[in-house]
């Protein structure tokens, strides 16, 4: 036991005062000649022992009062074990800056503001000479300072500049980063404090194994991380109402000039509040086009549809924004729409037919321009032109952006040369096989062991052409290529709907050339579609026919989006996606000549970042990894048409519901961590562990108890419990 005011222990000598008073009273007494001594004697005879005991007890109580009062004033601290280590403290704050931390009733009262206040309290109560470092727990988080600082002001200033991110919290990653930083702290006392709102969306789905591993790492470094619950109810309810624009979908992701495009926005209400007249604004290129008012009940999701016709080609920005609420990060959903002039496609028909839909390219021609085929006034984005093989030449290419070879037996050398030139200069080529293929030519000049246009060679034919034969299909799989990622959403159709009766095995050559990338596989494992860049252009080869001879694709609804996505992908040169999630890498393909040049990237929060394009796969690639905020990022530079990229926050944290008390307790129990209501509570426990627990309060209560006890005992010992009858003046009875 130690004392914070040890000198006040001297006050314990006052304990002798009651004893002295007692002795003095016994020495200084009055003398009374007494007649009724026989009564006194009988009283003393029967009560002597009790009276002596009472005297001793009363004296002890009276001695105890100043003794314990002095003890309490000396502020004793009780140390239960050797848990504390004294010395400078290295304080590592793990601050949740996921976007739910931006929730709050009013500006300046968000959870993140509360985190800042708790951080301020922690630095204020830190021992002199400590160092501070911070780790951010949200999307795109990281280390707060380049190196730990002794200056709490600098630390807090850095934290002040941080705003809630636009992504969910990643507890495991944050704790692992903290473990890494902890190794750099040399202070004898290390503390790790996690400031978080315990949002269910993040903590309920946290990587438990990762969290446990990170916690073990921290404990291995001698630190028991503490969690401060910023969402703990402190005299008020936590703000959980939130309205989010969850998504905006628009067709295939590409649009043509003059084409009417439909945008379908999903608006969802979390929490218990109804929004009977919620305004949802639709903006294109920063100009508000319309505001729709919706009636949104608690927990409901409403679809809001907007239509727009783009008048010019290029990259266009679309925004859908709901009226503001406590959490701004998910009020707005942005999208980038590349609008193209009409894309011309040249279909080279290897098997023309005079009968409807019997020719090799008949189905494809309809699929590429369905409105025109249906004699509808709506504008098709694609325009298809069909030529027989013998008429194909560089001259007929015209403005075609994509050439499709459908069951073409072979090309003449000039035709091949023109085609190679077309692809190398940025054109797109799709090759669909058929029964008429001259396999020697395809495996020879067209493939040239991978050096030709084909990424793979056509191998053996598989399957039976008869209808009753065995069929295969394209099983559900994750499509990585931007041409096919459209089908990752089942609502857009499934490639597995079609049966494939006959297909070519696509086999690599012997030269070790780039075999391209398999875009989709059959259930047999054979490649179905393979793509490879060639020069500035791109080639996609299929394993089966473009018409219905070997498969039923043309008879399935998925045929239209499949062909359109493939053609548009080729027309856009395989451009990386323009609509991204926060934290994703922004990628732009530029002409090869731009390699080494620096481009500006306009950021949504203002300001620009400068990124240098690097040469890769025959073109210049621009990559930017700093998409930490939702909004539009614009790539610009000399001679470059501005390219917009839309970045949206994950809606995973839109539901602001916290872990319930039971879930919080389970989290605490499973991970062996302590959760505090605030930083002060953590500091108190820390102080108790390090210095000991102050016990003056219970001692003071004891003193009060002694005072009351003395009063009661005094009354009991000296109080008259007997009423004497007839004590009035005069004759008795």
């Amino acid at each position: 036991m130690n004392f914070l005011n040890g000198t006040l222990l001297g006050g314990m000598v006052l304990g002798a005062v009651p004893l002295l008073i007692h002795l003095l009273h016994k020495r200084r007494f009055r003398v009374v000649p007494w007649g009724a001594m026989h009564l006194l004697d009988s009283v003393l005879k029967t009560n002597r022992r009790r009276m002596q005991l009472e005297q001793v007890l009363l004296l002890l109580i009276r001695i105890g009062i100043p003794l314990f009062l002095a003890l309490a004033m000396a502020r004793p601290v009780f140390k239960s074990g050797g848990m504390g280590v004294s010395g400078n403290e290295g304080l590592l704050l793990v601050v949740d800056h996921s976007y739910s931390m931006g929730a709050g009733e009013r500006p300046g009262e968000t959870l993140f503001d509360r985190a800042r206040l708790e951080a301020q309290e922690l630095t204020r109560t830190a021992p002199q000479g400590g160092v501070f470092q911070g780790v951010l727990l949200g999307e795109g988080g990281g280390i707060l300072l380049d190196r730990p600082t002794h200056d709490p002001g600098r630390f807090l200033e850095a934290l002040k500049r941080v705003t809630p991110s636009a992504g969910p919290a990643d507890l495991a990653a944050g704790l692992q980063a903290a473990a890494g930083q902890l190794e750099k702290l040399r202070e004898p006392v290390k503390s790790v404090v996690v400031l978080t709102d315990f949002q269910r969306a993040s903590f309920g789905t946290a990587d438990r194994a990762g969290v446990r591993t990170a916690l073990d790492q921290l404990r291995g470094a001698g630190v028991d991380p503490a969690f401060v619950d910023l969402g703990a109810r402190r005299g008020g309810s936590l703000h959980t109402d939130n309205v989010a624009v969850e998504s905006v979908e628009f067709g295939s992701g590409l649009a043509g000039v003059g084409q009417k495009l439909q945008f379908r926005a999903a608006v969802r209400s979390y929490g218990e509040t109804a929004h009977p007249d919620l305004g949802v604004a639709f903006r294109v290129d920063g100009v508000e086009k319309t505001v729709v008012r919706v009636n949104l009940g608690p927990g409901q999701t409403q679809q809001v549809v907007f239509e727009h016709v783009f008048e010019s080609a290029g990259s266009h920005r679309v925004e859908v924004e709901g009226e503001g609420d406590g959490l701004a990060a998910d009020n707005r959903f942005v999208a980038c729409v590349p609008v193209l002039e009409r894309v011309e496609v040249l279909l080279v028909n290897g098997e023309p037919s005079s009968q409807a839909l019997r020719g090799e390219t008949d189905f494809a021609e309809v699929a590429l321009q369905p409105f025109r085929a249906g004699r509808m006034e709506l504008a098709d984005l694609l325009s298809a032109r069909v030529v027989p093989v013998e008429k194909f030449s560089g001259a007929v290419l015209g403005k075609a952006a994509v050439v499709v070879l459908a069951n073409v037996p072979k090309l003449s050398d000039p035709q091949l040369k023109d085609l190679e030139g077309f692809v190398k200069s940025g054109g797109g080529l799709m090759v669909w096989p058929g029964a008429k293929l001259d396999l020697d030519w395809y495996r020879g000049p067209f493939f040239r062991d991978g050096a030709g246009l084909l990424p793979l060679s056509f191998g053996e034919i598989q399957g039976e052409p008869r209808d009753a034969g065995r069929t295969v299909n394209v099983p559900p799989q994750r499509f990585e290529d931007s041409s096919l990622d459209f089908f990752n959403d089942p609502r857009n159709g499934s490639l597995g709907d079609a049966e494939i009766r006959v297909w070519h095995r696509l086999v690599p050559g012997k030269g070790g050339a780039d075999p391209g990338k398999v875009l989709a596989r059959l259930e047999t494992g054979d490649p179905f579609l393979v793509g490879r860049n060639h020069g500035a252009g791109r080639v996609i080869m299929a394993a089966t026919t473009l018409d219905a001879d070997w498969n039923s694709f043309p008879l399935r609804p998925v045929y239209i989006p499949l062909l359109q996505r493939l053609v548009l992908g080729l027309a856009s040169g395989g451009e990386p996606p323009r609509n991204l999630k926060v934290g994703a890498t922004l990628t732009s393909f530029l002409p090869a000549k731009d390699a080494g040049r620096r481009f500006d990237i306009g950021l949504p929060e203002g300001g620009t970042a400068v990124v240098e394009a690097v040469a890769r796969d025959g073109k210049a690639v621009l990559e930017f990894r700093g998409t930490r905020k939702p909004g539009f990022y614009t790539v610009s530079g000399p001679g470059l048409e501005p390219q917009h990229f839309a970045v949206n926050a994950s809606r995973a944290e839109s539901d602001l519901t916290r872990l319930s008390a039971g879930e919080l307790e389970a989290f605490s129990r499973e991970n062996g961590v302590r959760v505090f209501e605030n930083a002060a509570a953590f500091r108190k426990l820390q102080r108790e562990r390090r210095v000991g627990r102050e016990i003056w309060r219970p001692i003071l209560l004891g003193v009060l108890a002694l005072l009351f006890g003395e009063l009661w005992f005094q009354q009991r010992v000296t109080g008259s419990r007997v009423s004497v009858r007839g004590m009035e003046k005069g004759v008795l009875r």
Binding site: P33, W34, L39, M51, R721
Partner: protein, 300 residues
């Protein structure tokens, strides 16, 4: 007795108020003189009471022959004879009676009370005697009805000094053989000591047809035990016997014990048909006497 002699003990106001009182015995006692007191012996006094039928054994001379002449039956005359009271005052002058402030000690109060009673009784031509005692009898003045006897009693009271232990039981036992005739025994004491021997002695007195009246004189300090600081109590009856204690600590138990003592005394007196009058030294003397005599009148 000249009033001036009594005035040594009583104030003029007290003497004035005493003049209206009459001492009446509850029971008829034998006496030699006529007075206000009723005799238990019917038939030989001047005041006719009743006729009753003759029974064998009645004296022949008590037959009322006039009634015989009218009725031809034997009736005897009964008379109610008024006699003088024969009273003995027993005044406790033991050490414990010395408690109290100077001039207001218990024994001084007892002496005043005895003087009052003697004065009243002699004025009514009753015989009054005096016995002073502590553990034993100190002085005895036999009962006399002469006015000059009051002087002797007052002189004796005036010369009394307190001291010694009290033992009421043995005193009564010693007094009993000297009481040859029925009369009134007035005890003025604090009655401190063993209660049971006292009660046994009272029972013996009652058995001897003595009417007993006890004036218990206490100081208010003995009733309230008002001491606060540490006190050494020195016994007034046994010099050298001292008790040093915190009075506040024993007060409760002392008062309990005192109440038990008084209750036991009251109960014993009631059982023996002994009148007990409890007085404190701050009680006005005449009021105390008045209360007592009123009660005696009611009992008559």
């Amino acid at each position: 007795m000249p009033v001036s002699d009594l005035g040594r003990f009583l104030s003029a106001e007290e003497l004035r108020r005493l003049g209206g009182l009459q001492v009446l015995a509850r029971e008829v006692v034998e006496g030699f003189c006529s007075g206000l007191h009723q005799s238990p012996h019917r038939g030989f006094s001047v005041e006719f009471r009743q006729h009753r039928a003759y029974v064998p054994g009645d004296e022949i001379r008590s037959i009322d022959w006039r009634v015989f002449g009218r009725t031809d039956r034997f009736y005897v005359r009964e008379y109610e004879e008024e006699t003088n009271l024969r009273a003995q005052l027993l005044v406790d002058v033991s050490g414990s009676m010395g408690y109290g402030p100077a001039g207001k000690a218990k024994w001084q109060y007892a002496v005043q009370l005895a003087a009052c009673l003697a004065h009243l009784m002699i004025r009514q031509q009753d015989s009054v005697g005096l016995v002073t005692f502590d553990s034993g009898i100190r002085r005895v003045l036999p009962p006399r009805a002469r006015p000059s006897h009051l002087q002797a009693i007052l002189g004796e009271l005036e010369g009394a000094k307190t001291g010694g232990e009290s033992d009421l039981g043995s005193v009564f036992r010693a007094v009993l053989p000297k009481l040859q005739r029925r009369g009134l025994l007035v005890l003025i004491s604090d009655c401190f000591g063993e209660v049971q021997p006292l009660l046994r002695a009272l029972a013996q007195l009652r058995h001897g047809h003595q009417e007993v009246l006890v004036f218990q004189v206490l100081d208010r300090d003995e009733l309230e035990f008002p001491f606060r600081e540490w006190t050494q109590f020195e016994c007034l009856e046994r010099p050298g016997s001292v008790r040093l204690l915190d009075p506040a600590q024993v007060r409760g138990a002392y008062l309990e014990r005192l109440e038990a003592f008084r209750s036991e005394l009251r109960r014993g007196c009631r059982q023996n048909r002994v009148d007990l009058v409890e007085l404190t030294t701050d009680s006005p003397l005449t009021e105390a006497l008045a209360v007592y005599f009123k009660r005696r009148m009611q009992h008559r």
